[in-house]
């Protein structure tokens, strides 16, 4: 059983479209995250939810909107996609303190053309 699963794995779409990425974790963790990894492998946090409550909202365009329907799910909706949004988006979860480490999903590779 995959601990943190993201769908889709690959997403190719045109500029201006709206798309969603879904994430589910079966680890019983309280906290979930969205990270963006650019072409140079740099990972940057976007959002974090703890028990469905938004606790981290970094400087991210308003076009990005997370939604956590329950503790095990965290989705990311992106409006009006731009070329610069092309990246790999990782969902992750942790039991609480990050000292115990994140468990990452395998990523969603988004390409905007």
């Amino acid at each position: 059983d995959t601990a943190v699963s993201q769908t889709p794995k690959y997403l190719v779409t045109q500029m201006g479209n709206d798309k969603s990425i879904k994430c589910e974790q079966n680890l019983g963790h309280d906290t979930m995250y969205w990270y963006k990894q650019d072409s140079k492998k740099f990972l940057k946090i976007m959002f974090s939810y703890n028990n469905k409550e938004l606790i981290i909202n970094e400087t991210v365009p308003n076009r990005f909107s997370p939604k956590s329907p329950d503790k095990a799910h965290l989705n990311l909706h992106i409006n009006s996609l731009e070329l610069g949004d092309s990246a790999v988006y990782f969902c992750a979860s942790s039991p609480g303190q990050v000292l115990y480490g994140y468990t990452f999903g395998s990523g969603t590779r988004l390409t905007v053309v």
């Binding site: 943190v4 906290t31 995250y33 140079k40 492998k41 740099f42 990972l43 940057k44 946090i45 974090s48 703890n50 606790i55 981290i56 990782f90 992750a92 942790s94 609480g96 303190q97 990050v98 000292l99 115990y100 480490g101 994140y102 468990t103 990452f104 999903g105 395998s106 990523g107």
Partner: protein, 112 residues
């Protein structure tokens, strides 16, 4: 200037060599330090973590933290081709336990 600096490499070593990776950081509030390994087309996975200065060993891996110099290292002994991956350092502050700040990652290739 990024909070966490890491040389992206790439680093290529022969099998059996010692791999030395390091990160520097500017935020003296960082207290928790981690190393993640990321294989191609996969998500990062936690390799080691520590929250104090000094050394921590786990099999062929040794993590070092020098808080006075704001410098952390990861050593891989007897490197294997299966160690070929990107290694990312990460760190956080105690009162902001939910956020990790990552380095850019160093890509390592171990040649058979």
């Amino acid at each position: 200037q990024k909070e966490v600096e890491q040389d992206p490499g790439p680093l290529s070593v022969p099998e059996g060599a010692i791999v030395s990776l390091n990160c520097t950081y500017s935020n003296s509030a960082f207290q928790y330090f981690m190393w993640y390994r990321q294989y191609s087309r996969k998500g990062p996975e936690l390799l080691m973590y520590t929250y104090s200065s000094g050394n921590k060993e786990d099999g062929r891996f040794t993590a070092q933290v020098d808080k006075s110099s704001k410098y952390i290292s990861l050593f891989i002994r007897d490197s294997q081709p299966s160690d070929s991956a990107t290694y990312l350092c990460a760190m956080s502050v105690p009162n902001n336990d939910y956020k990790l700040s990552f380095g850019a990652g160093t890509t390592v290739t171990v040649r058979a």
